[in-house]
């Protein structure tokens, strides 16, 4: 029972940053932006979260600064990709590099350390004990006592699904991706919808970063997002951006994360257990392409793209 609870808790905390970033990516996915900058936004968020938490002795300021930092990255993306019409893929890669460079530089400049910054002064995001529910024997230990950000993520998933599918705003975002010209001709600027989707993505990636550096642990290390932004991109592609699908896929990745930790108990070298989420992504990609082969729409898609690479 203890192992099971540990596994589920590990799954939830592993899924949280991926899900938050992937929800942000879902908005840009629907708006027709090929956004691969989640990795960089998350990393920037993680850095600024530690910065705010350390200097202001408050995790709340940490989260706010994380959102601001990540929004700055989104603004740079908007300036280059939406305003100057630079290639989105290239902008995203450059932005990810910029995030690694800038956070490493600031780590050295502000905290005077290389590699890792951890200090007792960093205040972590607290766990939330829900009264009454925490009395329930098995379920209580899972539902209650999680990190605050986990609950924020649940709300964010609900809100994202509602926004995208049930509101006029969401309709316009989807229209911007589906047929930008007809949206423009109906009097709504598709460029503006793309800007909004990127700003939302910035906020959500900032939250993901804050969870990485203040929820999981209480430190910032160079490049600590470690490919999670790419995994969230894979999750979005696998389910075509649907927030509920994204949530399920994120939980699968989170589970593989937890599974990796469990395997360490059986003397598997930690380097191999750390590979598990990335292997899981490859396996998920395999099932995705197999599914594509079986459905009629998928077969049509494959025929159309059979001789195109990328």
């Amino acid at each position: 029972m203890r192992i099971l609870i540990g596994l589920i808790t590990g799954m939830i905390s592993g899924a949280t940053p991926i899900l938050l970033a992937a929800l942000g990516g879902a908005f840009t996915f629907y708006a027709g932006v090929f956004n691969i900058a989640m990795e960089g936004m998350m990393l920037t968020g993680a850095f600024f979260a530690v910065l705010g938490s350390y200097f202001f002795q408050s995790w709340l300021v940490g989260i706010l600064l994380a959102i601001l930092g990540s929004l700055c990255m989104a603004l740079i993306f908007i300036f280059f990709a939406v305003r100057l019409h630079t290639d989105e893929f290239i902008t995203g890669i450059a932005l990810n590099l910029f995030a690694v460079g800038a956070t490493t530089y600031m780590l050295r400049q502000i905290f005077n350390v290389k590699g890792v910054f951890s200090a007792p002064g960093i205040i972590a995001i607290p766990n939330l004990d829900i009264p009454l529910i925490n009395q329930i024997p098995f379920l209580g230990q899972i539902i209650s006592g999680q990190n605050l950000m986990v609950y924020v993520t649940m709300i964010a998933t609900l809100l994202s699904a509602y926004l995208i599918f049930k509101t006029r705003f969401g309709l316009r975002v989807r229209a911007a991706g589906y047929n930008a010209a007809s949206l423009d001709s109906s009097g709504v600027s598709s460029a503006r919808m793309r800007v909004w989707s990127l700003l939302i993505c910035g906020v959500l990636c900032g939250l993901a970063g804050a969870f990485l550096s203040l929820g999981y642990v209480r430190l910032f290390s160079e490049n600590m997002s470690a490919g999670r932004g790419w995994i969230s991109l894979a999750a979005i592609i696998l389910v075509n951006g649907n927030p509920w699908g994204v949530a399920i896929i994120s939980l699968v990745f989170g589970f593989s994360d937890g599974l990796g930790l469990l395997l360490q108990g059986y003397n598997v070298p930690s380097q191999f257990t750390a590979m598990v989420p990335y292997l899981a992504t490859l396996i998920a990609l395999y099932f995705y392409s197999m599914k594509l082969k079986r459905t009629p729409i998928g077969r049509a898609y494959l025929r159309k793209h059979k001789h195109e690479h990328s």
Partner: protein, 352 residues
């Protein structure tokens, strides 16, 4: 060509100005900083030789990315292919006892084999299961990273070293310095020349380029797209692997922890800045190497931390790429306006 040169040089100037602005904002003297930066990377034989030596992994991974992107193959796996090539070459140097004349070529071949095999995994996944190489190469990067990290603390670890590393390779596998320049530079230039020749003068290279520009046209013209995809994947993997092997043989002479991390995305970055041009890749690779090499020296005589080179590089990429695209759309717009004007003045006449 002239347009490319113009946008490249303007981009570099603007990026350096932005960098100067950031230094000013933090109270550093930008002129003294840049002077120190280029003094330690370009002026004098020894700094220049170091810059060239450090450019080897940058240029080769950049070349790998350029060839892949220009052929329409999204190989983002250079970091993983580099470490796998480096590891395999190191193993050759550890366990083979051969004279230098034999060992060096064998290690180089092993390095290329390592990179090609790792790229081959992604190529196989694409061909057999139709899995996009875009995600799979990224995931394979992380897997290769952890695999090599395990190899250097597990089976091939040097227990006496302070940080995780393999034992040093056989002295016969060390690349010597010739006239101050490391021999790895020669291998790099040979690789650039060879790839340039194949890419621009051979039928195979023509097919790759056409597949990248218009895959439908290439297919109707009789190219075997799938075969070309696999070939490009293997060749670009071999190039990235070669980078790893040469780094080991020229520098630390062993596989160190974090060997690939330093060059992880640099190759892709250079290919992007170079617009997938092969000669441009060489030039930008040398330029980025100059910044990285100079930054280490700069740190010694100024207060500016060497990490500023990372920021400077990212600014360079953004500014050069955005500048290039902005310039070309502006030029197109101007040309269109000229045509429109000409058509208005001379409605029945021919366009000039």
């Amino acid at each position: 060509m002239a347009k490319k040169l113009l946008s490249g040089i303007t981009g570099i100037c603007i990026a350096l100005l932005i960098g100067a602005g950031m230094m000013l904002a933090q109270g550093y003297d930008p002129i003294a900083t840049y002077q120190a930066l280029f003094q330690f990377s370009l002026f004098g034989l020894s700094p220049l030789a170091t810059t060239f030596k450090n450019s080897v992994p940058l240029v080769l991974t950049g070349l790998s990315a350029s060839v892949a992107f220009a052929s329409g193959v999204v190989n983002l796996g250079q970091p993983g292919q580099l470490v796998m090539g480096g590891l395999l070459a190191t193993l050759g140097g550890l366990y083979l006892e051969l004279p230098a004349l034999l060992l060096v070529p064998i290690m180089i071949l092993l390095a290329m084999l390592g990179g090609a095999l790792w790229a081959g995994v992604a190529a196989f996944l694409r061909r057999a299961f139709n899995m996009s190489e875009f995600i799979s190469t990224l995931m394979l990067n992380m897997i290769a990273d952890f695999f090599t990290a395990w190899a250097i603390v597990g089976p091939f670890a040097d227990r006496t070293a302070n940080s995780p590393a393999t034992l040093p390779i056989d002295k016969a596998g060390w690349l010597p310095e010739v006239g101050g320049f490391n021999l790895s530079v020669l291998f790099m230039l040979l690789a650039v020349a060879g790839i340039w020749f194949v890419f621009n003068r051979w039928k195979a290279g023509y097919e790759w380029r056409i597949s990248g520009q218009n895959s439908l046209f290439a297919r109707l013209g009789g190219c075997d797209i799938n075969k070309n995809f696999v070939t490009v994947m293997l060749v670009t993997g071999a190039l990235a692997g070669l980078a790893g092997g040469l780094v080991v043989m020229a520098g630390p002479h062993r596989f160190l922890k974090g060997l690939g991390a330093n060059y992880a995305w640099d190759g892709i970055m250079i290919a992007i800045v170079a617009g997938n041009g092969l000669i441009a890749t060489l030039l930008y690779g040398l330029f980025f190497s100059a910044i990285q090499t100079g930054a280490l020296g700069m740190e010694l005589i100024t207060d500016v931390p060497s990490e500023i080179s990372l920021v400077l590089q990212a600014v360079l990429v953004l500014v050069i790429v955005a500048g290039r695209e902005y310039l070309s759309t502006t030029l197109d717009r101007l040309a269109a306006r000229r045509k429109a004007l000409a058509a208005r003045h001379n409605p029945e006449g021919e366009f000039p």
